[in-house]
Amino acid sequence: MAEISLKKVVKSYGRTPVVHGIDLEIADNEFVVLVGPSGCGKSTTLRMIAGLEDISDGEIRIRGRLVNDLPPRKRNISMVFQNYALYPHMSVRDNLGFGLKIAGQSRSVVAERVAEAAGILGLSDLLDRLPAELSGGQRQRVAMGRAIVRHPDAFLFDEPLSNLDAKLRGQMRAEIKKLHQKVASTIVYVTHDQIEAMTLADRIVVMRDGHIDQVGTPMEVFNHPVNTFVAAFIGSPPMNQLPAVVDAGRLRLEDGTTIAVPERLRARVRAGQKLILGVRPDDISPEGYGLMEDGESDRVDLLVDIAEPLGMESLIYSRLAGQEVQAKLYGPRLVAPGERLTCRISLSRAHLFDAGTGRNLEAE
């Protein structure tokens, strides 16, 4: 098992840079998820760690060893591909044992390790089948099995669940988490799905346009997004973002509605400053139906456009100052379109972002 270190890593195709000098330290046995919209450079970064893409500049070290110029086979890593990349002409057994055979392991070692991996992943009955005879979830497990038989320094996952249906995805997510606990190992996992990132990661790396926007534990990233992009990307439904101007100690929205500046942020704002108020839907709730009602808060009136009852909670779509706003109602209460609700905005959990740069005022 090993730590992975990226220093000022750059990737360009011709003159087009796609990864702009990123720095990242991944600790031994850490589960790190690279997340971001498509084209943000997360897969490219993973492929550079794997050695499938050359590095244009910078350094990558695995277990302290500089691997910039090493081919994939010399990096002692395993990778699970988005399309599984099982060898279609080989049985599950041969797929699992392929890497060991290439490495020149004896037959008994190969058989033993294949049996071990098959046991961990519940593949023991499928060893003689061809990949074409397996279901999506089974193929996924074979792909993971192929990764673990070699006892590599690190596992790399490239959007491994994106070809599965929602239910299976949930199951496999749990299996990957279990796998990480069983075979304690460094994992770098790429996904565009923020739920996967939140549920699996020890640390999340949010990427955008070839840069790293934020690195932190899921809770850090969720509770303290460094900018509007991270705020919108992590969390579902996404954080409401309302443009506002500081006026007489309050935040004035475009339609004249005013909301108090959160107390902890009062020293950081100045009159006339253009800001974006960020509030998660969970933090705007009709009075008496909220989750966190004891902290600092303010009131705002919302007109219900659509309500989605989900049982014990309802998602409310409304408009505020010309922006769509989502709020959440906790409790078994039905809300009708057209209803006017007085809602509490939890200010202790609200964020202020600079309107120009999008940076969180509290981010260093």
């Binding site: 395993s78 990778m79 392929f98 290439i102 192929r146």
Partner: protein, 285 residues
């Protein structure tokens, strides 16, 4: 008219048309095969004898110079020439086709598209249009009437096709398979031979059979560039049966059968390989 009846009638009509088309396509071939086993007298009979009275292997014996041979034609030499020329040119075209097809399918390089397009354009030039320049060139090089001369021509004829076909097969194999193999410990070369080659094998075999058939059946250029038993191929050898005033139809048919049989066998193989090559799939869920 009920719908069921209508359907049955149109099905019958379809069968009939298909059958007629098949008859039109098959009769000349069948006639050749039939003629190969009949005496000349019966072939030339008027009105034509549709159902042969007796079948004989005499025609084959004759062209191989066995029995009471009048026309001894060096079929053996022609057969060997054909075989050597077709096999060699196919082998080389396959090696180049595999390298080229892999490169076009896998690598990014300058002028890739224009290079590929010009290869395809090569195939639009009718080979016969090149026969005169080829003849002049080859005679200066002194490779007229040699197996090598024809081999080079056939390689040039086949390479664009093998590259195109094999490129298509490699394209169907996801890049991630080779990448997975490389992560699993293979060099790129090993990944090719252990993963990509076995998967493209069907396609490569199909390309090989097509290339072989092209070389085996080619007549026009071979007729220009060969002279003697040193290099004459079977299709050119067929013309040996025409004399100034007579044509030995029986002998010609027998030789045609000798040409057709390997081609026919290979055509069946092509079908099998093509189908296998096109259906290996099953990578994604």
């Amino acid at each position: 008219m009920t719908r069921a009846l209508k359907q049955r009638l149109s099905a019958a009509a379809l069968w009939l048309v298909t059958f007629l088309l098949m008859v039109i396509m098959c009769i000349p071939g069948l006639w050749v095969v039939l003629s190969a086993f009949r005496p000349n007298r019966e072939i030339l009979a008027r009105p034509p004898v549709w159902v042969p009275e007796r079948l004989t292997l005499n025609n084959f014996a004759k062209i191989f110079g066995l029995g009471e041979a009048q026309v001894a034609i060096p079929v053996g030499s022609y057969f060997m020439n054909s075989l050597v020329i077709a096999l060699t040119s196919t082998f080389v075209a396959l090696v180049i086709g595999m390298a080229g097809g892999y490169a076009f399918a896998r690598f990014r390089f300058r002028f890739k598209n224009s290079l590929f397009l010009s290869l395809m354009l090569l195939r639009t030039v009718p080979a016969i249009a090149l026969s005169l320049p080829l003849f002049m060139l080859w005679s200066r090089l002194g490779i007229i009437d040699t197996q090598m001369g024809l081999i080079i021509v056939y390689i040039a004829l086949n390479v664009p096709f093998t590259i195109w076909l094999i490129d298509g097969f490699f394209r169907q194999i996801p890049m991630s398979l080779s990448e997975a193999a490389q992560v699993d410990g293979c060099t790129r070369w090993q990944a090719f031979w252990k993963i990509e080659f076995p998967l493209a094998k069907g396609g490569i075999a199909a390309a090989g059979v097509f290339a072989f058939l092209t070389s085996w059946n080619e007549y026009a250029l071979a007729a220009q560039l060969t002279r003697s038993t040193d290099s004459k191929t079977l299709p050119v050898g067929l013309m040996d049966f025409t004399a100034q005033f007579t044509i030995d139809w029986a002998g010609m048919s027998a030789m045609a059968v000798i040409i057709i049989v390997p081609a026919l066998i290979l055509t069946f193989l092509v079908q099998k390989h093509l189908i296998r090559g096109l259906t290996f799939g099953g990578v994604k869920g």
